[in-house]
């Protein structure tokens, strides 16, 4: 699949934004983070900006961005529509909780309730993003429950590492955000690794023989393509990264998204003061680069069954 920059930015930025929003609220509701005004402004500012930038980026690749509101209408059948609905619904409750935190210093009662709703909706939005891809039978690499699980794991991990960087900057929250990161980073790594193992192992049930229905007559090969220049379908669906580049990029993603942030986070736990803050920021930056690589690969490694008609053996 063609790795469109707008979709890569959308899924990584808004994923991390929702993860940060979710953990910020959850830790506060449970009494692990004080409702400090500075942290509130920075935390909600960054998470809601990431979410908004992501959502706006996702509309850049639309042919008619001005009609994007129509995408909220078909939630009964479409995961993309469901994602839109819960993404929009997250805003008012998250903003309400943020108002309680920042202006009133109050995150209990009705404010806390709206925060709880925001946590739920943020999680649902990320799950819906994963399901958009997981529900496509036409892309065997995505058509697995590991897809939404990975989207959730990476959003939470991104959120935890960014929360660690923020709380370090404000000197709040103690070691809890770092401890969360130390737990979530290896977990997300293991889940991503099992996703890669799965897509390497499981052969597609679709072949050029089954696609053309001619498999029973003999071995099918493409003799002549229908056109000399690649068409939309080939440009959109035919992108495929070479296996040897994929292996290298997977290693790069693992180092940047998991190993380095993990090492920096351990450093945060072992040191303190300015050095710990610096390490936490490095962890967050490395993770961003790692997630962008991982997300590029998520698209580039995915193959579409329509390419069987263009000669892929399957």
């Amino acid at each position: 699949m063609h790795p469109a920059l707008s979709v890569i930015i959308f899924t990584t930025a808004s994923g991390t934004g929702y993860g940060l929003l979710l953990l910020l609220i959850l830790l506060n509701i449970n009494g692990y983070l004080p409702a400090s005004r500075g942290l509130g402004i920075a935390g909600f500012g960054i998470s809601l900006t990431l979410i908004t930038v992501g959502l706006l980026a996702s509309t850049f690749h639309l042919g008619h961005p001005e009609r994007a509101w129509r995408a909220l209408s078909q939630w009964r059948s479409s995961w993309l529509s469901r994602e839109g609905v819960v993404a929009v619904a997250t805003y008012p409750v998250a903003l309400m909780f943020a108002i309680g935190w920042i202006f009133l210093g109050n995150t209990s009662g009705i404010w806390g309730l709206s925060g709880f709703a925001a946590v739920l909706l943020a999680g649902l939005t990320v799950a819906c993003t994963g399901m958009i891809y997981a529900s496509l039978k036409t892309i065997p690499q995505w058509n697995t429950s590991l897809t939404p699980i990975n989207y959730l794991a990476l959003a939470l991990t991104g959120g935890a590492v960014w929360l660690m960087a923020l709380t370090q900057l404000f000197g709040l929250g103690g070691n809890l955000p770092a401890l969360l990161s130390v737990i979530l980073l290896p977990l997300a790594w293991a889940l991503k690794q099992s996703y890669w193992t799965l897509i390497d192992k499981v052969p597609s049930q679709h072949t050029i023989g089954s696609a053309t229905g001619l498999g029973a007559l003999g071995e099918v090969t493409l003799l002549e393509p229908p056109h000399t220049e690649p068409n939309f379908v080939q440009k959109e669906m035919g992108f495929k990264v070479a296996r040897r580049h994929a292996a290298k990029l997977r290693k790069t993603a693992v180092v940047l998204a998991f190993i380095l942030p993990l090492a920096f986070t351990v450093g945060v736990l072992l040191t303190g003061g300015l050095l710990a803050t610096l390490l936490a920021l490095l962890a967050a930056l490395s993770l961003v680069a790692g997630l962008l690589t991982e997300r590029w690969l998520f698209f580039a490694e995915a193959t579409h069954v329509s390419m069987l008609y263009y000669g892929n053996k399957g």
Binding site: R70, Q74, H206, A211, F232
Partner: protein, 250 residues
Amino acid sequence: MTMLPENPSQKKLGLVIDLDTCVGCHACAVSCKEWNSGGHAAPLPDTNPYGKDPDGVWFNRIHTYEVSQPELGPTAGQTVHMPRSCLHCESPECVTVCPTGASYKRAEDGIVLVDEDKCIGCKLCSWACAYGAREYDPDGGVMKKCTLCVDRIYNENLSESERQPSCVTTCPAGARHFGDLGDAESEVSKLVDERGGFDLMAEIGFKPTNKYLPPRPKTNSGSSYRPLNIDQQATPDSRFLKWVDRLFSR
């Protein structure tokens, strides 16, 4: 609504394409492009048509496959031309993934269409289609697809014989048939029964309405084939030619 119709009619309009008769001339694709450049889904864009990298939307694409049987010898097998277009599936996931309601399946005859006024051009439907039948229009910012010539088949301004998809009326080999595949007694349903019509990528479960008729088995394929022995031909039979051969071989 991108939910599939709850009470669809029995009518399932579609095509039956005979792979035994198709000669791979691409006339269906050309005639489709011509009709639909002015029809329901018009315009069909062409970007840089005379330049280095021409591109454009076509609803019909004709692939040519080789089906070989290596175990029967190097020449066993056949060439099969396969015109491909939207199959107007019974469970079209290109419709259900649409977030706006632009893609829909008609309850009355099963035709899958795009309402271009509602399409936001997110391209998700093209990802959900297993057959690569949907092509994006970068000029209009909307998705395009085969309409089964919905603007011809019910068009009372056309003579009755012309109320068929453009690709069908054009095919010089008579390889394309249009009709109601929901009616077991229709000509197309009978053809499918008689010839063992099949679905493309049946295992993915989208239940295409369009059917393909398999090429008939070749009668002279496989081991019966004897290539000409060039060396034998070069050795003359008659006494006179042998003398000439000896003369020139010195």
